[in-house]
């Protein structure tokens, strides 16, 4: 058997786990690992400028490809800097392995230089974590970490490795396990047959059904199954923020996103539905609004791979614990064999009603905001232009705030894994590093980071990483010189007292800043130059382009659910709200 040091084993195990790319940042406790990395060519490392970005980039890589992302950081500040990224991945169930260096075993607990109890600090935000205490255990631990991260409800796994365990002078036999079996971890795959039959009958009997589908469909690569089922039934579909792209955004049966900033037709249909079929969605508070008033007429069918998501917020009448990719095809087969079929008249009537809602108040049947004119560029129009210029085929990452909601509403995602955003944790600073991860995975696809001048400044240092590793992403900065969503809430709830949400004249010249990093900067202040400049931007295939677009500072995101209301209680525009 081959003898390797702990550091070498880490890298070899990554290779054997099928890992091509690692995002990271070296430091004292991780140096043995970094030295082993230097002495091989199978695993490529991408040096970032801040550990948070390493984890977000690994996350973006994972979200866009479906593979497990990998980040490597050192102990102490390296590890704690990674925490925000790990929490982001945890909230959105993103498979990821984060390897952190740790002080030597003998120093643990001594308040040593750059010591942090990484397993302890990360405990509430990981799917699982390991502290490796012997070089002999590294390979199996890494194999377990990838297995746990990728299976069941995916999530981040931390592997903390003390420096002496990676000692180059201590060589041990290397063995990477061919298969992982754990008696304490056996995720459910197939749903309960009886429950599935009940669910099918309930679906077939429905008169006002809605398919409410979430990130689980994307994570589980079950989009095709969802489309097949929805088409077979001719039932309306709404996606959550995390589920965008799981069902084609341009499809006739698609109602748009639901929830706090969801469409009128999606939220109203949910409210009036008699059967809600939740697929890989978790009844998040940004979807349901007041739980007491949630969908009063509906029988709830709920598929989720995670039993804790079932009946956590909303009681499921027919719970099914299993993967979307296993349960949906099983249901479709049963539907095709069933003696009964959907009540065509009732469903036609339901569609008529939905089409009426769309025509009256939908954001896709008419423009529900004042159009851009002259120097007043509406942020919604920027997203529409982005959609037009990229033919709806870009991978779009976003940060968090108004721009995120506008992108979610107006970029109609037709494919899963093309909308990359921090939905659960809502992490500003996610967009640019996540875009780097996507660009690494898909060098020939346009990758646009829709952001704002607030969010982009939280990880702007990564413009330098883009240069070093040739990651020509496009940054679409909706610049309103304010924390837009904070400002919107201050308009709505605090009589427009803009407490600490305005940048006044403190913003950098983003054009010069982009140029300082060796990129292209563009400043757009007039609606008439938007299309031409944006086409120019995307024509520069091998350059990072920072489009600093000055948008209407006063714009709000609508529709918006009224706090404490039901799903259908919505403000549809500013006039209605104020």
């Amino acid at each position: 058997m081959e003898l390797l040091s702990g550091g070498e084993i880490v890298i070899r195990a990554l290779k054997d786990a099928g890992i091509k790319y690692v995002w990271g940042y070296p430091g004292g406790a991780a140096l043995h690992i970094y030295d082993a990395l230097y002495r091989q060519e199978d695993v490529h490392h991408l040096l970032v400028r801040h550990e948070q970005a390493a984890v977000h980039a690994a996350d973006g890589y994972s979200r866009s490809t479906g593979e497990v992302g990998t980040a490597l950081v050192t102990s102490g500040p390296g590890a704690t800097n990674a925490i925000t990224g790990i929490a982001t991945a945890f909230m959105d169930s993103i498979p990821m392995v984060v390897i952190s260096g740790q002080v030597p075993l003998s120093k643990i607990g001594q308040d040593a230089f750059q010591e942090t109890d990484m397993v302890g600090v990360s405990r509430p935000i990981v799917k699982h974590s390991f502290l490796v205490t012997r070089a002999e255990d590294i390979a199996e631990t890494i194999a377990k970490a990838y297995y746990i991260a990728a299976t069941g409800r995916p999530g981040p796994v931390v592997v903390d490795i003390p420096k002496d365990v990676t000692d180059p002078d201590h060589k041990v036999p290397y063995h990477y396990p061919a298969e992982i079996k754990m008696r304490s971890y056996q995720p459910t795959d197939k749903g309960h047959r009886g429950q599935i039959k009940r669910a099918v009958q309930t679906l077939l009997d429905a008169k006002r059904p809605v398919l409410y589908t979430g990130g689980g469909v994307v994570i589980d690569n079950a989009s095709e199954h969802l489309i097949a089922l929805a088409r077979e039934l001719n039932y309306p579909v709404t996606n959550t923020l995390m589920g965008l792209g799981a069902y084609p955004g341009t499809d006739r049966q698609y109602l748009g996103m639901l929830g706090m900033h969801g469409t009128y037709e999606a939220n109203t249909a949910m409210h009036h539905a008699d059967v809600i079929f939740a697929i890989g969605a978790r009844f998040d508070d940004r979807v349901t609004n007041d739980l007491e008033k949630f969908c009063p007429h509906a029988t709830i069918i709920h598929i989720d791979v995670d039993p804790t998501s079932v009946s956590k917020n909303i009681e499921a009448h027919i719970p099914i614990v299993g993967t979307c990719s296993s349960v949906l095809p099983e249901m479709l087969a049963l539907i095709k064999q069933a003696d009964s079929s959907p009540d065509a008249d009732a469903i036609a009537e339901w569609w008529q009603q939905i089409d009426q809602w769309r025509a009256d108040k939908g954001i896709y049947t008419a423009s529900r905001y004042e159009e851009s004119s002259g120097n007043c560029i509406k942020p919604q129009d920027v997203i529409k232009m982005l959609y037009k210029v990229t033919n709806g085929e870009a991978i779009v990452t976003s940060d968090v705030g108004q721009h995120q909601m506008f992108a979610a509403q107006y970029y109609l995602f037709d494919k899963p894994r093309t909308w990359i955003n921090s939905g659960g944790l809502g992490t500003m600073g996610f967009g640019l590093p996540a875009a780097m991860g996507c660009k690494l995975a898909f060098p020939d696809t346009d990758v646009a980071c829709v952001t704002g001048e607030g969010s982009i400044q939280m990880c702007i240092q990564e413009l330098s990483t883009c240069s070093q590793h040739n990651l020509p992403v496009k940054i679409i900065n909706l610049n309103n010189a304010a924390l837009g969503m904070v400002r919107q809430w201050q308009d709505m709830n605090y009589s427009s007292r803009y407490s600490e949400s305005l940048y006044e004249d403190s913003l950098p010249d983003f054009v010069k800043l982009a140029e300082a990093y060796g990129h292209v900067g563009m400043k757009i202040t007039h609606i008439d130059e938007l299309e031409e400049k944006m086409r120019e931007c995307f024509a520069m295939k091998d350059r990072v382009v920072f489009m600093d677009i000055y948008v209407d500072r006063a714009e709000h995101v609508y529709p918006m659910q009224m706090p404490g209301g039901s799903m259908r209680d919505l403000w549809l525009n500013k006039t209605e709200r104020t």
């Binding site: 397993v119 302890g120 405990r123 509430p124 799917k127 699982h128 974590s129 502290l131 746990i148 754990m182 008696r183 304490s184 971890y185 995670d306 039993p307 804790t308 009946s311 956590k312």
Partner: protein, 164 residues
Amino acid sequence: MKRIVSILLENESGALSRVVGLFAQRGYNIDTLTVAPTDDDTLSRLTLTTQGDDKMVEQIVKQLHKLIDTIKVVDLTDGPHIERELMLVKIKATENDVRRELKSCVEIFRGHIIDVTASSYTVQLAGDSEKLDAFIEAVRDMGIMEVVRSGVSGISRGDKFLRV
């Protein structure tokens, strides 16, 4: 409502902190917690008591099960079960009549006096939590110096058993 939950856990470092952390993180209460390795030393058996309605306890059980180190979780309260707790109490006992009364009280509760000094008795008592509470009430006026309770351990009645 009081619940007794039994858990079989991998006997590994960090496993217990994950269980305890889960309760803190999700706002559940732990009233008592006992943990020790079983006859198979790769396994720990953990019993905890908590308060909550059915919905909360269902979530607690599911969340516990979701922890990677957890092998099995059972809500013992669902069926017939036995619960036992061990208590050690040190009580002031200087006067002869107090010593006599305490001794008879210990007999009534079927406990044992396991340590004696000129001024104190240390009593060992096992039983369900209500019995231990009752003993404390019975001897409270004599002057309790120290109380140590193990927390509840539980096992189901009959032939049902919790094992890997």
